[in-house]
Amino acid sequence: MKNWPLWEVFVRSKNGLEHRHFGSLHAADAEMALENARDVYTRRNEGVSIWVVESKNITASNPENGGELFEPAQDKVYRHPTFYDLPDEVKHM
């Protein structure tokens, strides 16, 4: 029969932080994926919340399109605060 599908595991290390990709594992269903994730990735008290997503449900960008996807953002310097000149007297803004 078919083998257990692959799941991606995201763990929030503590409240206030975002969920971060920790790794993957195999499980037959979402419930088992959560339980397995708890046992595999939080054995040393590494998390307070877990998300699991079946890997096949993730749509990833193609690195070959990296140029068109990400490079146009490189010259939009006006999105960054350092683009704007302020008088030195204004210490924090």
Binding site: W4, L25, H26, A27, A28, E31, M32, E35, N36, D39, V40, R43
Partner: protein, 252 residues
């Protein structure tokens, strides 16, 4: 009137279950049906052995004769172990592992939920910590009972076989020894007979959901709590005690 000795025996009763079940689970380490399941079973073994140590350390303190947790774990003779017959049953196949775990977890959680109200602060604290662990065990084993029961034809057959075989050991969980009674009267121990109805109700709910049937068995086995064990126990202890017996009075 409860004596120190009664309390120590009472603690053995609970702790030996954890030790022996932990020992059975640790036999499986490296041999599970999947890597993920292997890790999960080992986690439960670690929880149980952790609880065992807390109980034995407390018992050793009560004894006050210089004995350690290891003396208690390793240097008693078979008749002095007070665990129920259920937990010493072998890992015949994964169905047995799960059924044994499930039957014990449901009881274990009910027991600890009562024990946390014990007048004895140490036991109450151990119980409170254990509740979190055992709630997870019960969730894990219940989920697997459902998966195996309502999975394939083969898995249903196998887990039903385990349930039919192990059912006869469930009644002993609710048996009160003389020690148990005295410790209960001192408001330290739990009256396990009062847990029986809830227990079978919970077990039935999960088995129903798993489309498994309740065995129609009227004869139950008991003896473990009096130290009269099954033939499996001697081999389990031979393994467990090997080093301490072969090399007495040494530090490891």
């Amino acid at each position: 009137m409860m004596k120190n000795e009664n309390l120590v025996h009472y603690i053995y009763g609970i702790a030996d279950n954890a030790l022996i079940l932990g020992q059975r689970l640790s036999e499986l380490c490296g041999h599970g049906p999947s890597l993920e399941t292997d890790i999960a079973l080992t986690n439960m073994a670690l929880d149980l052995l952790g609880q065992t140590r807390s109980y034995y350390q407390y018992a050793a303190a009560l004894l006050g004769d210089g004995k350690t947790e290891d003396d208690i774990a390793y240097l008693r003779i078979e008749r002095q172990y007070k665990n129920v017959l259920l937990v010493e049953q072998p890992n015949k196949h994964f169905g047995y592992v799960i059924a044994r775990q499930f039957f014990y977890d449901v009881f274990h959680l009910l027991l600890l939920q009562e024990l946390q109200n014990s007048k004895d602060e140490t036991l109450s604290a151990i119980a409170k910590k254990g509740i979190k662990e055992v709630s997870y065990h019960q969730r894990f084993s219940s989920d697997w009972i459902k998966r195996l029961g309502d999975g394939t034809e083969e898995s249903r057959k196998k887990v039903q076989e385990a349930i039919d075989d192990l059912w006869k050991f469930t009644d002993e969980l609710f048996h009160m020894t003389e020690d148990d009674k005295l410790v209960f009267e001192a408001q330290i121990g739990v009256d396990v007979t009062a847990l029986k109805q809830t227990y079978y109700q919970r077990v039935k709910e999960i088995l129903d959901e798993a489309t498994l049937s309740i065995p129609e068995i009227k004869w139950f086995q008991k003896g473990g709590k009096q130290g009269i064990h099954s033939e499996h126990m001697g081999y389990l202890l031979a393994d467990l005690q090997y080093m301490q017996r072969a090399y007495p009075n040494m530090k490891w």
